[in-house]
């Protein structure tokens, strides 16, 4: 028996929303999805009229849908934003070059300017080379840290006011779970914020307009709107710790679909006891990027790669910052600890 849409009541329902379980027709679903993103943007005051905004595009579903929705909403509600695309080339053969083609196609479809920054030009290392040195266990740390800085540098080159990323509700919930499991209280406090702090030189504030959109709904949206995206998993990611949090989250969602939003709610309402040591924001003494230690993480990681010490940067290393800054060689014991890598 055909089910009718619970919103307009007229058309036949084409899908069931993963978020609330309601049956909706295509048009009502598009409207609901876009409205929700619009409400998120308006309630959190993410943008101001006249700003230029860079959309971090990887060619995957989140950033494709983000680019599409931002364009639609910008026109529909007259945000007055100047949009452009920015993409990061990590140098992963077989994965990134394909997704970059998708981004270039998106650029033509949405008629937005595009800038591509690559690890090769910024750091002198591609992810393939890094994995050869580091192995498959800690490579995601390198990629993530480098990408963050790459996005900021690209945004500075483009001279935009804000970056928006395609992080969805599932990503934020996974991050909350991961930080609980890892005991990272500082990140736990910050990770549910919808936009980062905006003070400081060399830092472009970034926000997540899709923060409350379920991953499944993003896929549904892209499917029904026939949006073109690249959907393969990164070839280096299967051993990431995040995978555990992700499986747990998927199972939770099957038990109770609202779990994802519930976890985000928990994360937002957490309160940390006074007196717990928190990192203080400063700048890196070598490159000037923001950092809570003397050297920023990417400088430490780069130093490790350049010296052939792949574990420098994984684990506690702040005691070695002084030595790195002053270009002193490390003792043999320290070198031995930092060299050993399990593949």
């Amino acid at each position: 028996m055909p089910v009718s849409c619970s919103s307009c009541g007229e058309k036949r329902a084409a899908l069931k929303r993963p978020k609330t379980g309601h049956s909706l027709c295509k048009e009502c679903f598009f409207m609901a999805f876009e409205e929700e993103v619009h409400q998120t943007i308006v309630n959190a005051s993410l943008f101001k009229s006249g700003e230029s905004v860079a959309i971090a595009a990887s060619g995957g579903k989140d950033s494709t849908v983000l680019a599409h929705v931002m364009k639609v909403l910008n026109e529909r509600y007259n945000y007055g934003l100047e949009l452009m695309l920015i993409s990061v080339d990590e140098g992963i053969t077989g994965y990134r070059d394909d997704s970059l083609e998708t981004v270039k196609r998106n650029q033509q479809q949405y008629e937005l300017p595009l800038k591509i920054v690559s690890y090769e030009e910024l750091y002198g290392w591609t992810m393939d080379a890094i994995v050869k040195q580091v192995g498959l266990k800690n490579n995601c740390t390198f990629c993530g840290v480098f990408r963050r800085q790459a996005l900021d540098r690209g945004a500075l080159m483009l001279k935009v006011d804000k970056i928006c990323t395609g992080h969805n509700a599932d990503d934020v919930a996974e991050t909350v779970l991961m930080n609980v499991l890892r005991g990272d209280i500082a990140r736990l406090r910050r990770c549910t914020a919808i936009s980062t702090a905006s003070e400081g030189e060399g830092v472009v504030p970034r926000c997540k307009p899709l923060k409350y959109a379920y991953e499944k709904e993003i896929v549904l949206y892209a499917y029904f709107k026939k949006l073109d995206y690249f959907s393969t998993e990164c070839i280096y990611s299967p051993n990431a710790y995040r995978g555990h949090a992700r499986t747990f989250l998927k199972d939770l969602e099957s038990i109770r679909p609202s779990s994802i939003i519930d976890i985000i709610h928990s994360g937002e309402n957490l309160s940390v006891r006074e007196g717990v040591k928190m990192p203080v924001q400063g700048t890196c003494s070598r490159c000037g990027y923001i950092s809570s230690q003397a050297l920023c993480k990417s400088c430490v990681l780069l130093e490790g790669l350049n010296r052939g010490l792949p574990k420098l940067g994984i684990g506690k290393h702040h005691r070695l910052h002084g030595k790195i800054l002053s270009q002193q060689p490390l003792t043999e014991k320290e070198e031995r600890k930092l060299k050993s890598v399990e593949f």
Binding site: S6, A32, Y212, D262, S266, E268, L270, R273
Partner: protein, 501 residues
């Protein structure tokens, strides 16, 4: 000190050979003084090797240090031990017994009694089975020499509505008065020795058991049912403590159980109440403080202790015994943490450390009216402008624009539906006058939702009907509704918020 420095198997004397390896992760650089440690891996994971006698000392010391360090339990104070019969609470009972014995060093100075809640009715156990389990437990309780109460969970249906309200603490609990109280006690203010008997338990009523089962059965998912059961149990425990003059309630939750509980609470939306649900002391009820002295012990340590020193336990099944992994969120979290613990041995201690760094949002044990009806924690549903709650409300609004004319055929009805599934769908929106399954004072789901915190709202959402809620909850809901109507009438004349001073 035992020969721990030289490692396993090196000592020739069989009595002094290490028998236990305990894996602990230390945050600080140095492990506790007096215990030598062999650092096994670069990850600050230490393996402690123990001999039997040293293990007992370690266990006992940790228990007493937890109580003594926090100075929470005053000498001469009446304390209620909630014993379920499981390994953790049995170990707690054994420790308290030892601690109170005259020969103990640094002996404990409070007056304990035992309470056991018989949940057999909720689980569908037969009367014979329930009586058997309870009598096994009573043997253990009698041997301890303390007063004990075995109360069936059905009693929760008869509670007064004051149980969900916060009451002011009965005596001064300031830290400086602790020392004074110890001095008084040391001077040998004579205390009557306890008779150590059981209070005769009330007869079990069939109809009450049925009502309880109906109540739990109205929760459609196992997750909601388990949460509801634990809420009811907590209410009954607190009521018992209150009416019999006990100001502290000791719960026997271990480190492993609390780590799972933390993850479950995060998944259920109880982020604001994590500190109260998993912390050492929980003062949400005001006059009765819930204390968790076993929270530093991992399940493995407790199991070994019980085995080594012959602590009697009685295993009683719970709601999710023998259930598949994905039956409920609680069950899933437990299997997830156990699995992760195998690959990353520091998982449980890391999660536990996270819980120590949290506090209750908004300063905790304050305001009377802003409390949840079920869990008595502060209500966290003030939907901030850009919050998950707001997003959820918007989604609901966008999908249900015309509730009056539409008949919902989807498997999950929206929160607005009023009838229970068993009565058939009447299709009328909630709040409509004269719902067909109502009797005289049945509460409206929507009104109840306003009085609950975020996660209790989710429990209510999963309940097919609120007609079976115990009388005290319904009465309290009515009372709060009347009070808020009163407040709305006079709001322009009120000068300051109630409970803000």
């Amino acid at each position: 000190m035992c020969e721990m420095q030289r490692g396993a198997g090196s000592s020739s004397d069989p009595c002094r050979r290490p028998v236990l390896q305990v894996r602990r992760t230390w945050e600080a650089e140095a492990p506790p003084r007096g215990l030598s440690v062999r650092n096994r891996s670069a990850r600050a994971d230490c393996v402690l090797l123990f001999v039997r006698s040293c293990f007992r000392d370690y266990f006992t010391h940790k228990f007493r240090a937890m109580l003594g360090k926090t100075r929470l339990i005053f000498p001469g104070e009446k304390v209620l031990l909630a014993i379920s019969g499981g390994p953790s609470s049995s170990a707690m009972l054994s420790q308290v017994q030892q601690g109170l014995s005259q020969s103990a060093q640094k002996k404990l100075r409070f007056l304990p009694a035992i309470v056991h809640i018989d949940e057999g009715g909720a689980l569908g156990l037969s009367l014979v089975e329930r009586q058997r389990l309870v009598s096994e437990l009573q043997v253990i309780f009698r041997a301890s020499g303390f007063n004990f109460y075995t109360i069936p969970l059905e009693q929760v249906l008869d509670l007064p509505s004051s149980v969900v309200n916060v009451a002011p603490p009965s005596f001064d609990q300031a830290p400086d008065s602790y020392k004074a109280a110890v001095d008084v006690d040391l001077q040998g203010a004579g205390r009557d020795p306890q008779q150590g008997g059981g209070v005769p338990e009330p007869r079990l009523d069939e109809s009450q058991t049925r009502s309880l089962q109906q109540l739990l059965g109205s929760a459609a998912t196992l997750t909601a049912r388990a949460e509801l059961l634990s809420t009811l149990r907590q209410h009954l425990l607190v009521h018992t403590a209150r009416t019999r003059g006990y100001s502290k309630l000791l719960l026997g939750e271990s480190c492993s159980r609390l780590a799972v509980r933390l993850l479950t609470c995060v998944s259920l939306g109880r982020g604001a109440h994590l500190a109260q649900d998993t912390g050492f002391s929980d003062c949400r009820f005001g006059d009765v403080t819930l204390v968790r002295p076993m929270r530093e012990f991992s399940a493995k340590e407790i199991a070994v202790y019980n085995h080594m020193f012959g602590v009697p336990t009685v295993i009683i099944p719970t709601l999710d015994t023998k259930m598949p992994e994905k039956a409920s969120i609680q069950r899933l979290s437990q299997s997830f943490v156990s699995r992760l613990q195998q690959d990353f041995p520091s998982t449980v201690s890391t999660i536990y450390r996270t819980s120590e760094k949290l506090q209750t949002a908004g300063g905790g044990c304050s305001a009377q009216d802003g409390r949840c009806l079920l869990c008595v924690c502060s209500v966290d549903t003030a939907a901030g402008k850009a919050s998950a709650l707001q997003a959820r409300l918007i989604s609901e609004q966008l999908c249900c624009q015309e509730p009056a004319g539409t008949v919902q055929v989807g498997p999950t009805p929206p929160a607005g539906q009023c009838c229970s599934a068993t009565d058939g769908e009447c299709g009328r929106p909630a709040g409509g006058a004269g719902c067909c399954s109502s009797h005289f004072r049945a509460p409206e789901k929507k009104e109840l939702q306003k009085l609950l915190c975020y996660s209790c709202q989710l429990i209510l959402r999963d309940m097919s009907s609120v007609a079976h809620l115990p009388q005290y909850i319904v009465a309290e809901a009515e009372r709060r509704k009347r009070r808020s109507l009163m407040k709305d009438e006079i709001s322009e004349f009120l000068l300051e918020e109630e409970g803000s001073s």
